[in-house]
Amino acid sequence: MSPPAPHPGNSPHTTRDAVLWLGVYLAAVTVPLFALLPGPAAGRGFVWDFAMALGYAGLAMFGVQFALTARFKRATAPFGIDIVYYFHRYLAVAALAVVVAGHYGILRATNPAALGSADPTSAPAYMTAGRVALVLLALVVVSSLARRALRIDYDGWRIAHAALATTAFGAALSHLLGAGRFLDTAWKQALWAAYGAFWVLLIAYVRVLRPLRVARRPWKVTDVRAERGAVWTLALEPAHATEWLRFAPGQFAWLTLRASPFAMREHPFSIASSAERPRRIEFSIKELGDFTSTIKDTKPGETAWIDAPYGTFGIDEHPHAEGYAFVAGGVGIAPIMSMLRTLADRGDRRPLVLFYGNRVWDRVAFREELDALAQRLNLEVVHVLLEPPADWTGERGFVTEDVLMRHLPITRHRFEYFLCGPVSMTKSVERALAALGVQAARVHSEIFDWV
């Protein structure tokens, strides 16, 4: 057994790193723009130059979108990868507004003659490329925001998303290089061509090099077990005996089953097993969608691939807390099981409270193991049932302020809190904890459906 993963703690570095990476973002978007300032060309009027600057900046913003989802661990760690994916989503809307309302809209409103004819047979290719890019970018953003409403299948969407976004970016770049009146010297053209090439290489890294790295470390399915509540636990061991996965409890992995790592058919799941047992990792997955319903058909011996670990949700980010409290809703228990199992393996004696919300008693996943963990740990398990049996004496309904108040110790202000479950639950528990005087910085939640 190997030692627990060394993990970046919640040191002051985290805030400093977050500011640093935001600075890197702004620089990546605007430094290539300001590099165009020196030179012989004079200004063309504020409105025109502003519209042009928004075009350059918008393209750079779309370029950075590829970097945001490239899963660079150092850049995502200070924020948490779920925030980075949300950032990617909202920035896409902002970047679309910048190019549609800003770059194109300002020109359309103030100087429509400069746009020329939209007819692709008479317009120059670089202008048609710009129009194609606008339409494709809008399509990429809308199909992503409305994926669930439009009932677009996740695997198909991921492939279409990558293909459309890459095509749109290529079209936008060729528009810029063709129309770029600011690119009046060879070195400026070279700078922007290199800038474009950088994003192309990044895409190659994400789609080819990283899957290659994942493919070189195959895992084998060793067990598939049914838990209560339509949850299936999938156990994996490395195909090569010398391998293991260092992770911190609460982190997650991108899992690929029955597909090549290059096929973009990976799905994110929390690791449920102990971080002290890095040679056998387990996922506990509830039957909810197309992919999750196939977990039970997986057979021992099948090959699996994992890209891991990711995420900043977990006790090892806050190692010096006086105690920990966990709030789980349904299968949101998975990352919390990892934390409890890890604490048990480490012989931790700090006070722990788990609030575990479920609908009915028979479908409470891991309830027997939680009883056993309560014996090994200084742990109180508070089951909260929405539809309790007639003889139930425990908590009922939702995890409310009253329920929290009844079971949290007086030292609750010095605990760290981990929330995982439906968004409605995490939001209401966050409010309840705030009402109980717990600092927001001590409350950590894992977002489940950020993709």
Binding site: F50, M52, A53, Y90, G102, A113, A114, S122, R181, S445
Partner: protein, 136 residues
């Protein structure tokens, strides 16, 4: 604040900064006013008597050929290459060479020359040149 709304605010603030920096870029480029081109009357003969119908036809050709994508006249069109006063700077042969991407102009136009060469043989070419020539 939830993690999602934190990301939302982070994205909004970042986008606002990008837009502000773009405005700063535009302001910095326009610190000094646009240079006023001195008419070089020596190069060109006095303007021919303008026939309003031909001028109108030339202006229509200017629009049809999408010249405003790269050129502005009286603030309309792409300000990168203003044509105000071009009739005082270039003679008719030069205007023709620039309009069609021929000769020395072709070398200086680069890739744009091939777009302009599509206008060779346009029936309104002479009207276009009349229109440009009277821009003083």
């Amino acid at each position: 604040m939830t993690r999602e709304s934190r990301a939302k605010w982070l994205a909004a603030a970042t986008a606002a900064l990008v837009i502000a920096l773009s405005a700063l870029f535009a302001a910095l480029r326009n610190l000094s006013p646009l240079p006023v081109r001195a008419p070089q009357s020596a190069a060109a003969p006095p303007p021919p008597a303008a026939d309003p119908a031909r001028i109108a036809a030339g202006r229509a050709a200017f629009e049809r050929m999408n010249c405003a994508m790269c050129h502005s006249i009286a603030g309309r069109g792409n300000p990168s290459h203003p044509l105000d006063g071009v009739g005082g700077r270039l003679d008719r042969a030069q205007l023709r060479a620039w309009a069609l991407g021929e000769g020395e102009a072709a070398a200086r136009l680069g890739g744009i020359a091939s777009i302009k060469q599509r206008n060779r043989g346009d029936p309104e070419l002479d009207a276009l040149l009349d229109y440009l020539q009277q821009l003083r």
